[in-house]
């Protein structure tokens, strides 16, 4: 039964799905991870069978991801933050080993093991004892190992107690546990081929920390020995310890004295501390010291220390004598102006260091200072590289290196032998506001036409003739391009040349870290420019407006920044106001030619009086009131809506700014008309009562504040997303509805659609009758509301409606599905509340397109705008009309960035790919050939007939 209804729905809704050959053509997707954490990013060969490696990372958003180093495509990703219940201490941790098909990640109190090849869960644990301080994988397999997956050692710390646990690699089961109740700060874990070292920080008498190293037997977890290093004069915070090595033949701990003059190194397990004077010849203070050491047991015990000053950097390479545990300086990578990054890679026992400066990449062996390979960077970047990981491949004598560099402001680049192979724009992960920009190509023409409109008839004619003569100068170029245009249009399909219809508008995205990016939607959403606008980490952008050639961004401090759309240049900056803004409303001016903004404070009152705008403003305040304001009075509201006690206003939505109505009525099967209740001042208020578990939806008239329609749903989970939308003469909302005590109701997500009509009777306008105007203040008639609820399989976190130029095209309800990471566009005809319930439709209803109501609405695969893509973390979906009536642009942002085109009624005004130009040409040729063959034959026949007569 259900399947039948579904099939029926599929038959009726116009085919709106994307063709598989249009993927990547009409849509683009940035599957983002966030800023990769320097400690938890590495190249790794997931399988011993293949030599191919993947680039793994754990980002600041706690997303574990595997990236294909060849093209930068995401292989898999998992979100650890969803599973961790306690806040994480800093970044998470991710560890892996070559040839070991398991990555172990930790965030907060959550440890999990993921298959390195496909990202499936091996095991997961939520700890009750505390948060994970460090994890390390045991490289050596011992007799107790049962499976091919290496075991992990985890350090769990809470107040005063540190627990070291060996976890089985395949199951996560605890093999042994070492509890340290001495009150030390659990710090890190490290391992050599024979021992596991637990490193904790012991508070010294006065201040600072002593480093305590406890050696444990890897098989039994028994403590074998313990050492305390006198570091209390140097180490004041856990961050003072530069490095604790792991999985090395000679794991070491490195720290410096407070003045950064002496580097102190201890080979873990020994008592000696080697002090090495730092030879700073640069003349400026050292800003950062990083230690790069190989993390394989069989590699040479060499390591590199990288020193960064304000203006330049250098590095020292040290060798460790395994027998005497002595550390000696081997050679030095010279001081160079500008910033550089260093990465370590290991082949067999050999250790290679890759240093990438602003201009070149060099590879040196750890054994000697000779440069093995050097490449000039083909496209030097102005952005400073923050950290990198490298993979060196040797083939005979030649050597190749690929390095993944993370640059300031969020570009993650792979540089292979000096060439940039790909760039991932990880900075886009924090998008807070976005809009489509309008380029000003047509701006001149508009201006000229305006001039013509204001002149006398004769003057306008002269002006036009002159303009056309002037346009002739483009003719040679146009003629020159003509053959290539014809040729290219014959070879390619429609997609490339629809740009002039506004389907390839650039997208401007503002991110939380104060940066503005422009994406070229014509080139798979590649970043065309990005500009740092504000130096902040919490840029609270409230509104973003686009005008031809420019885009203006309004953050919450009341300031504004205008950028040029082609170059990203900052054109104009206004100063912040005194009061911080809660929201910014966008209003159109009286002549509706431009948009202006109105700041609203936290109390819900406009900060400045609306002067230029002839309109109303509906605001919500922090204390849950809804108020209406008119121009020139920012002190007292015109009306105020307070929900019943216990209810809290959580959301207010209005009709979109661009919401054209093609028809004021709905034509029924018998040619009568139901008149739509069209009110441009509708506001839908969602109020929840967490205690009574209800959600109430109030439809208000924005001018008078009158409640037009109110409904309350019971059994609603107010902690789950409640999305709502208003458009044209209908509204929709969704929520989790549960079984309530009194009735035998259903459990699941529900989607409710209501349509507003002027009267329940066709061909009748009710109280309005033949009136052409209505007044919101004097006797506003109430709408006739028809509602219908559907059970849906998934929660909806955000709703939007497709917008087209004239509103003739059927609308789609754009729903963000957070649990399946997709965006679905439900055709409006499917959601018609007038669908007949418990009976088959009559002939008239069939003609109208109505079909039998089924309580369960399964999302058809063809409705998925994001088709098979995994579009994660979407906060908002925008829709914009194009010059083509059939096509609506859709942009989703939040974590991933996804842009596509929606054609709810199919691309009826576009000759798409299915229009075969070849077939047309062949038909014409065939007809031509037929005519040339048949014409002489007919002529001969006629002549013969005449002769025979």
């Amino acid at each position: 039964m259900r399947l039948k209804a579904l099939l029926f729905a599929a038959c009726l809704s116009p085919a709106v799905a994307i063709y598989s050959d249009e993927v990547n053509h009409v849509d683009f997707h940035h599957a983002l991870l966030g800023t990769p954490s320097p400690d938890s990013t590495f190249f790794l060969k997931p399988s011993t069978a293949s030599n191919a490696s993947l680039l793994y990372t754990l980002s600041d958003k706690l997303l574990v991801g595997a990236v294909n180093p060849r093209d930068g495509a995401l292989v898999w990703r998992q979100n650890l933050s969803r599973s961790a219940d306690s806040p994480t201490r800093g970044a998470g941790l991710l560890r892996g080993l070559d040839g070991n098909d398991a990555l172990v990640g930790a965030a907060g109190n959550y440890i999990s093991s993921w298959s390195a090849q496909d990202g499936k869960l091996g095991w997961e644990k939520r700890l009750t004892e505390g948060v994970v301080a460090d994890i390390e994988l045991l490289e050596l397999e011992d007799a107790t190992a049962t499976s091919g997956i290496r075991d992990a050692i985890a350090v769990v710390g809470s107040d005063g107690v540190g627990i070291v646990r060996r976890l089985d690699g395949a199951t996560g089961k605890t093999i042994w546990e070492h509890k340290d109740t001495s009150g030390d700060v659990p710090f890190q874990v490290s391992s050599s081929s024979t021992e596991v070292f637990y490193i904790s920080l012991q508070s010294a008498m006065l201040k600072g920390y002593k480093i305590k190293v406890t050696a444990l037997d890897p098989v039994t977890g028994q403590q074998t020995r313990q050492q305390v290093l006198n570091s209390d004069t140097d180490v004041t915070t856990p961050e003072s310890v530069l490095y604790v090595g792991a999985n090395s033949a000679s794991p070491l701990i490195a720290w410096t004295d407070k003045s950064q003059k002496v580097l102190k190194i201890n080979v873990i397990g020994t008592k000696e501390i080697t002090s090495i004077a730092i030879d700073n010849t640069s003349g400026s203070d050292i800003r950062q010291i990083t230690v790069h050491a190989p993390n394989k047991l069989n590699s040479l015990p060499h390591f590199l220390v990288h020193f960064v000053t304000e203006t330049g950097s250098w590095a020292e390479v040290y060798h460790v004598d395994l027998r005497s545990s002595k550390v000696t300086n081997a050679y030095r990578l010279p001081y160079l102006q500008g910033q550089s990054v260093v990465a370590t890679s290991v082949i067999g026992a050999n250790v290679y260091f890759t240093r990438i400066t602003e201009a070149e990449a060099i590879v040196v062996s750890s054994a000697s200072h000779g440069v093995l390979a050097r490449w000039d960077l083909q496209t030097p970047s102005s952005e400073v590289a923050l950290h990198s990981v490298s993979e060196v491949v040797t083939k005979g004598k030649s050597l190749a290196v690929r390095s993944a560099l993370f640059r300031e402001h969020g570009d993650w680049q792979l540089v292979r032998n000096g060439q940039v192979e790909w760039t991932r724009y990880e900075g886009l992960v924090d998008a807070v506001a976005a809009t489509w920009a309008e380029t000003d190509i047509q701006e001149d023409l508009v201006h000229e036409l305006e001039v013509e409109g204001h002149e006398t008839l004769y003057g306008a004619y002269l002006h036009r003739v002159k303009r056309h003569v002037r346009d002739l100068q483009h003719l040679p170029d146009w003629l020159k391009d003509l053959p290539t245009r014809i040729l290219s249009s014959a070879l390619t399909d429609e997609v490339s040349n629809l740009d002039s219809f506004g389907v390839a508008k650039p997208v401007v995205i503002a991110t939380k870290n104060g940066r503005v990016h422009a994406l070229d939607t014509g080139k798979h959403g590649a970043v065309s420019w990005s500009v740092q606008v504000a130096e902040t980490t919490q840029w609270d952008v409230k509104a973003i407006l686009s005008s031809p050639g420019a885009v203006t961004i309004y953050p919450s401090d009341g300031s504004s920044v205008t950028l040029d759309i082609l170059t990203g240049e900052i054109v104009l900056r206004t100063e912040p106001s005194d009061t911080p803004l809660h929201t910014i409303a966008v209003l159109s001016t009286q002549d509706s030619t431009s948009l202006v903004t109105a700041g609203v404070g936290a109390d819900g009152a406009p900060v400045t009086a609306l002067t230029k705008e002839d309109g109303i403003l509906v605001t919500t305040s922090a204390d849950g009131r809804v108020r209406g304001w008119i121009a020139e009075d920012s002190k007292s509201p015109v009306w105020e809506f307070v929900p019943p006690s216990g209810q809290k206003v959580v959301k207010a939505t209005a009709r979109p700014a661009h919401d054209p109505v093609a028809s004021i009525g709905k034509v029924l099967g018998n040619r009568s008309v139901l008149y739509k209740y069209l009110n441009s001042n509708l506001a839908l208020i969602t109020a929840v009562d967490a205690k009574a578990k209800t959600a109430s939806f109030y439809l208000l008239d924005g001018v008078s504040g009158m409640v037009l329609h109110a409904t309350t749903q019971t059994g609603v989970d107010s902690t789950q997303p409640i999305a709502s939308v208003v458009s044209e003469n209908w509204l929709a909302y969704s929520f989790w509805g549960d079984v309530t005590a009194d009735e035998s109701s259903a459990k699941g997500y529900q989607l409710v659609v209501s349509e507003l009509y002027e009267s329940p009777l066709p061909n009748d306008r009710g109280a309005l009758d033949s009136a052409s105007n209505y007044s919101s203040i004097e006797s506003l008639p109430l709408p006739h509301v028809i509602s219908q609820a559907f059970m849906i399989p998934e929660p909806i976190s955000h709703m939007a409606v497709t917008q087209t130029r004239q509103g003739i095209t059927t609308r789609q309800l754009l729903c963000t599905l957070p649990s399946s990471n997709s965006i679905v566009g439900i055709p409006r005809p499917v959601l018609d509340p007038r669908r007949p319930v418990d009976r088959d439709p009559t002939a008239a209803e069939v003609e109208e397109g109505l079909f039998r109501y089924a309580p369960f609405l399964e999302f058809d695969g063809k409705w998925y705008l994001s088709h098979a893509r995994d579009v994660a973390g979407i906060r908002e979906v925008l829709s914009s009309p194009t010059l083509l009536e059939s096509t609506s642009l859709v942009l989703a942002y939040g974590s991933d960035i996804y842009g596509t085109r929606a054609t709810p009624s199919q691309a009826f005004d576009v000759l798409g790919k299915s229009f075969s130009k070849l077939q047309l040409v062949l038909t014409v040729v065939a007809l031509g050939a037929g005519v040339t063959v048949l014409a002489p034959m007919t002529r001969r026949k006629q002549v013969n007939a005449l002769w025979k007569a």
């Binding site: 598989s20 998992q78 644990k125 009750t128 989970d717 989790w736 549960d738 309580p855 063809k862 299915s914």
Partner: protein, 252 residues
């Protein structure tokens, strides 16, 4: 494998958790190998929160193609809706999972969306009251179907060109034009005469044949019903000189 995995998870359980639920994915028609499910597949147990406790439990797909839930204890018995969602468009049937306050599973049934919650379907598991307590419950998920995301594009093939009614009409007309004279030649003379007589009586064929002969056929006039002197002569005179094919062929 699934058994061992969940058993091991049980061993590692913290004190809060008292039962576990493992959902296995059997191989079926649309999904012969459950291991091809994408890593983002996950299962959720959802209900309305009776207290501030977790009311949405989520489990990721494991290497063994299972979902493992650790069921927490709660003040009252809870009735959860189990959903399995997969990125590949695989659709699974929803289940109703009743969990006791101590975190043990009371029963699992299929449920139907859009039906009352009490309307339970096939029973997947129900607790054995007399028997001893089962800590780990294993049930199989039921795959309903797979969503098709893409529209099939009509392929261009020469055959489709041939199937076009316009082309078919043209082919038939061509065939008639070439084959008909051949047929006429093979006909015996009497039959041919009869056929011609017959075709002459039909106004259209008469008009066409006269058009063939005369060259300047007044189509507009013929359609308006005006009598063309040549045509009327042909129809009236029977075997006059204007009558083209008949006598000429008879002569030949």
């Amino acid at each position: 494998m699934q058994f061992s995995l969940s058993a091991i998870v049980l061993l590692g359980l913290s004190s809060l958790v008292s039962g576990s639920l493992t959902i296995t994915i059997p191989s079926s028609g649309p999904l012969p190998n459950p291991h091809v499910l994408p890593a983002t597949s996950h299962a959720t147990l959802t209900t309305l929160p009776s207290s501030a406790k977790d009311h949405i439990l989520s489990a990721s797909l494991t290497r063994a193609a299972t979902f493992v839930f650790e069921l927490p204890t709660s003040p009252t018995a809870e009735s959860y809706l189990l959903d399995i969602r997969s990125a590949g468009g695989y659709v699974f049937a929803p289940y109703r999972v009743d969990v006791a306050a101590d975190g043990s599973v009371l029963g699992i049934w299929e449920t139907f969306r859009g039906n009352p919650w009490d309307n339970r379907g096939a029973e997947k598991y129900v607790v054995d009251v007399a028997g001893k307590r089962v800590d780990d419950v294993v049930v199989e998920a039921k795959l309903v179907g797979r969503k098709a995301f893409y529209e099939e594009r009509a392929k261009f093939s020469p055959l489709s060109l041939v199937k076009n009614p316009m082309v078919l009409l043209a082919v038939v007309a061509l065939g008639l034009m070439f084959v008909m004279p051949k047929l006429m030649e093979n006909m015996d003379p009497e039959m041919r005469a009869e056929f011609e007589q017959h075709s002459r009586s039909s106004p259209i064929t008469g008009a066409t044949s006269s058009a063939m002969g005369g060259g300047g056929f007044d189509l507009a006039g013929w359609m308006a019903g005006a009598s063309n002197p040549a045509a009327s002569e042909a129809t009236q005179g029977g075997s006059s000189g204007r009558d083209t094919s008949g006598p000429a062929r008879r002569r030949g």
